[in-house]
């Protein structure tokens, strides 16, 4: 008789010895037989509880930062400026003695380039944040918001 099988399974369940399949069997039984004998009523409530917990779902949105091709160009830009600076400081020029003013010019140029590099990175970062916000706004537009803030 099914009840006997169920009682055997319940003993195994309490001992932590049931397989997932057997546990599913127990849940199905209590779901399909609302009128169980008195001594099994607690299990009815317990497995109903598990069922109700399983039904809880996530209602919020999924926000992912989108891949940013822009970022790539920033790093390439930085690299280009860096290499450019190195070329200016290239040792191969050392055949001719440098005039003071030439050296000054070089230093100025390098400083200028380094500042530009710094600015580019800053701008790049600012753009990234903006993009993130933009992406988030797009994501909000695309996904349902059922979240209500209290």
């Amino acid at each position: 008789m099914e009840l006997q099988e169920i009682e055997i399974l319940l003993d195994k369940y309490l001992a932590g010895e049931t397989s997932l399949k057997e546990e599913v069997r127990l849940k199905e039984f209590f779901k399909n037989h609302p009128n169980v004998p008195e001594h099994l009523k607690e299990y009815q409530a317990l497995f109903s509880f598990f069922e109700s917990e399983q039904e809880k779902t996530y209602e919020g949105g999924l926000y992912l930062p989108k891949p940013k091709p822009f970022k790539r160009w920033i790093s390439i830009g930085v690299a280009a400026v860096f290499i450019g600076t190195l070329l200016i400081w290239s040792p191969f020029d050392n055949n001719l003695p440098e005039s003071n003013s030439n050296q000054q010019l070089k230093i100025q140029n390098t400083k200028g380039l380094l500042m530009m590099m710094g600015n580019t990175v800053k701008e790049g970062r600012a753009n990234l944040n903006y993009l993130e916000e933009l992406d988030t706004l797009q994501a909000i537009g695309k996904t349902q918001i059922s979240k209500t803030k209290r």
């Binding site: 369940y13 409530a45 598990f50 809880k56 779902t57 996530y58 992912l64 930062p65 209290r150």
Partner: protein, 171 residues
């Protein structure tokens, strides 16, 4: 892992992540926030995910650790897993026992268990995970898990029997 593959991975998991967060953090808002943050964490670690035997266990572990961190940070009464003793109701429980109330009773009983036991009930009885996966998440071996689960289930049953037979629960 590109965005599409990641979403395919996350979609079946997000409810599970949410439910576990809910068990730790109690509040729906807190659980929703936690789910967002865990998904973002997983996205940032998406290259690692493929390397795991059970990417799912990895995701759930991240969730668990995130929730524990949240509890430590906030240290807020609302967000602690409350090891509360079940309190007696004013009127006899027999009058209250409708399906809905019964679920509330079970819920309270489970919340009176230890954090470890609640976790195991969540992962095995509610999320229906295999012991192998659970052992990766809670860092216990299978035997230890079975023993702890058995103890937890017996506790639940005992408390429910008390309620049904005596009408008013005793501590």
């Amino acid at each position: 892992m590109n965005e599409k593959a990641f979403l395919e991975f996350i979609n079946p998991l997000k409810d599970r992540i949410y439910r576990l967060s809910l068990r730790y953090l109690i509040s729906k808002d807190a659980a929703e926030d936690a789910t967002q943050e865990v998904i973002l964490k997983l996205w940032k670690n998406r290259k690692k995910i493929k390397g795991y035997d059970s990417p799912e266990a990895f995701a759930i572990t991240i969730t668990k650790n995130h929730c524990i961190d949240q509890l430590k940070l906030k240290n807020n009464n609302n967000l602690r897993i409350v090891h509360s003793n079940y309190e007696s109701h004013q009127r006899p429980l027999q009058q209250q026992i409708e399906a809905k109330d019964e679920l509330k009773i079970v819920s309270k009983i489970i919340k009176s268990l230890s954090e470890k036991e609640q976790n195991l009930i969540q992962l095995r009885d509610i999320e229906q995970m295999e012991y192998l996966e659970i052992s990766q998440i809670v860092d216990m071996n299978e035997t230890a898990i079975r023993v702890a689960l058995s103890r937890a289930r017996k506790k639940i049953r005992t408390k429910m029997l008390e309620i049904h037979r005596h009408g008013i629960a005793r501590n």
